[in-house]
């Protein structure tokens, strides 16, 4: 690799878009911190709702964006050696954690860069080579994308920023329920009992969750099952019947004792608009406040 190429790769690796390209996975590439006292797993809610900056425990967010409980478990299996004995492992549960979603080859690519091949779902040698080639030399592997995205990012930093439009929480909550969830999972009525397929998914995922709790306990770790806060406009749309069918039944099926189950979905301390980037995900301010409170609740 010549010097110019190396310098370009260094610049690219320092950009935000490149970190997003890999769904925040680069934090695992350079992991040197041992004795971590708390980590959280989870899909995008895990990624956005936890922030350990300034917390009294050494923490790390192990969510890498969209990922299922099975991916969570694989990350835990690969990285638990970094945890302190007795560390908290926060297993983040979202409203649809119990349903199996589809993952594309693109969304699977990141796992090749930080997980052992034996723990990659649908392992494909060609994909592994592709992922490792991009990781080793991003500029050579995708020069066009690198130039375009990097210039765009620099331009955004230089040009005066437009104030982001205020979130219409009510409207966006409806969009999340209708367009993200109901469409993605083929559900027409949130309050109806689960379909036979979804029921099967729930039983399968409950086994995974049970296995995760058992795995932690066996290794002297403390598993905790947590539902993070959502904006009140979204929690209003998730009825008691829905929660019973999709969330609480799921947790009960998984038999998660001795892991505590803490539900912050309607917690009044985290309902301010300022805490959310959209009705489902917190912003940094919200995530920091929530994570600090969780640590207080876990250590009292």
């Amino acid at each position: 690799m010549n010097l110019i190429n190396r310098a370009l790769n260094k610049i690219i690796r320092g950009t935000e878009w490149y970190d997003r390209y890999w769904d925040s996975v680069p934090k695992f590439w350079s992991l040197r911190t041992f004795d971590i006292e708390i980590v959280n797993l989870g899909s995008n809610a895990g990624k956005y709702d936890f922030c350990y900056e300034g917390c009294k425990l050494t923490g790390m967010n192990w969510s890498t964006g969209r990922q299922s409980l099975v991916h969570d478990f694989n990350i835990l299996k690969n990285y638990f050696s970094y945890l302190k004995e007795g560390a908290f492992v926060v297993i983040t549960i979202s409203p649809f954690s119990c349903i199996k979603a589809k993952y594309t080859t693109r969304s699977n690519l990141k796992y090749y860069t930080f997980l052992h091949p034996a723990t990659i779902i649908g392992f494909d040698e060609q994909e592994r080579i592709k992922a490792l080639t991009i990781k080793a030399n991003p500029f050579k592997a995708m020069p066009g994308l690198c130039i375009k995205r990097t210039l765009k990012e620099y331009a955004r930093q230089i040009l005066p920023r437009r104030k982001p439009a205020k979130c219409d929480f009510q409207k966006e909550a409806r969009t999340i329920v209708d367009n993200w969830w109901m469409r993605q999972f083929g559900i027409t009525d949130l309050d109806a009992p689960l379909s036979a397929n979804h029921s099967q998914d729930q039983s399968d995922r409950a086994k995974t969750l049970h296995g995760m709790v058992e795995f932690c306990v066996e290794r002297g770790l403390r598993p905790v099952i947590v539902i993070p806060p959502v904006h009140p406009e979204l929690s209003h749309l998730l009825s008691g019947t829905f929660r019973e069918n999709y969330i609480y039944t799921f947790i009960r099926k998984a038999e998660t004792a001795p892991a505590p189950f803490i539900d912050y979905m309607d917690d009044t301390r985290f309902q301010k608009d300022e805490y959310f980037q959209n009705p489902y995900f917190m912003n940094k301010q919200g995530a920091t406040a929530f994570t600090n409170q969780l640590i207080i609740d876990l250590t009292k």
């Binding site: 041992f34 004795d35 694989n74 299996k77 690969n78 990285y79 638990f80 050696s81 970094y82 302190k84 997980l115 052992h116 034996a118 723990t119 795995f215 066996e218 290794r219």
Partner: protein, 190 residues
């Protein structure tokens, strides 16, 4: 099990030790049973494991006839694993230390390197020799590797001095659970 192949390649008719590299989650007990058979055939003098914790031994205890005689893992003054060491002592499992010198390359607290420096000066030894002597005095067997003849010689030149009990305690107090190789990355779910 290819023990016969190893014997042929090494031009010997027995091995001192046969170790399982990892407690492979799905095959751990199965492999151990095979190793017990090799031991019973008399092809190896001892059988053992690597990277095992107490829970692995307890699992084996439920089904195996022979408990591992050796456990090879990473330990050093900055990663002393006191409970595991004590468990092995109580169960007559000989601790063998891999990568015994890699801790010298880790960025650990300055007190550790200062203490090593002080002891190296006091005994006219190198820092590496102090660490290896510490291992031996804990009753463990370090297996340092080197591609340099003079280092190989220096790594065995540790039997002409003794660290005091206080110095051993000071070194043990350097523990910060820092190790070179996080095992779960090589053997997920171990």
């Amino acid at each position: 099990m290819k023990v016969e192949n190893s014997l042929r390649q090494l031009q010997t008719d027995y091995l001192d030790a046969l170790l399982m590299h990892w407690p492979y989650p799905d095959f751990f007990q199965e492999i151990w049973h095979e190793m017990e058979a090799v031991y019973n055939e008399g092809l190896v003098r001892s059988i053992g494991v690597c990277n095992c914790r107490q829970r692995h031994f307890e699992k084996l205890r439920q089904t195996c006839a022979i408990l591992p005689m050796i456990n090879q893992f990473e330990t050093s003054p900055i990663n002393s694993k006191p409970e595991l060491a004590e468990y092995c002592r109580q169960n007559d499992i000989q601790v063998m230390i891999y990568s015994p010198l890699m801790n010298l390359r880790l960025q650990s607290r300055p007190q550790y390197h200062d203490l090593l420096q002080h002891l190296a000066g006091k005994y006219s030894k190198t820092k590496a020799q102090i660490v290896l002597r510490f291992d031996v005095q804990r009753g463990m067997i370090p297996i340092p590797k080197s591609t340099h003849r003079e280092r190989l010689e220096s790594n065995i030149g540790i039997f002409d001095f003794t660290l005091s009990e206080e110095e051993m305690r000071q070194l043990l107090a350097c523990n910060e659970n820092r190790q070179y190789m996080p095992e779960s990355r090589s053997c997920p779910g171990l």
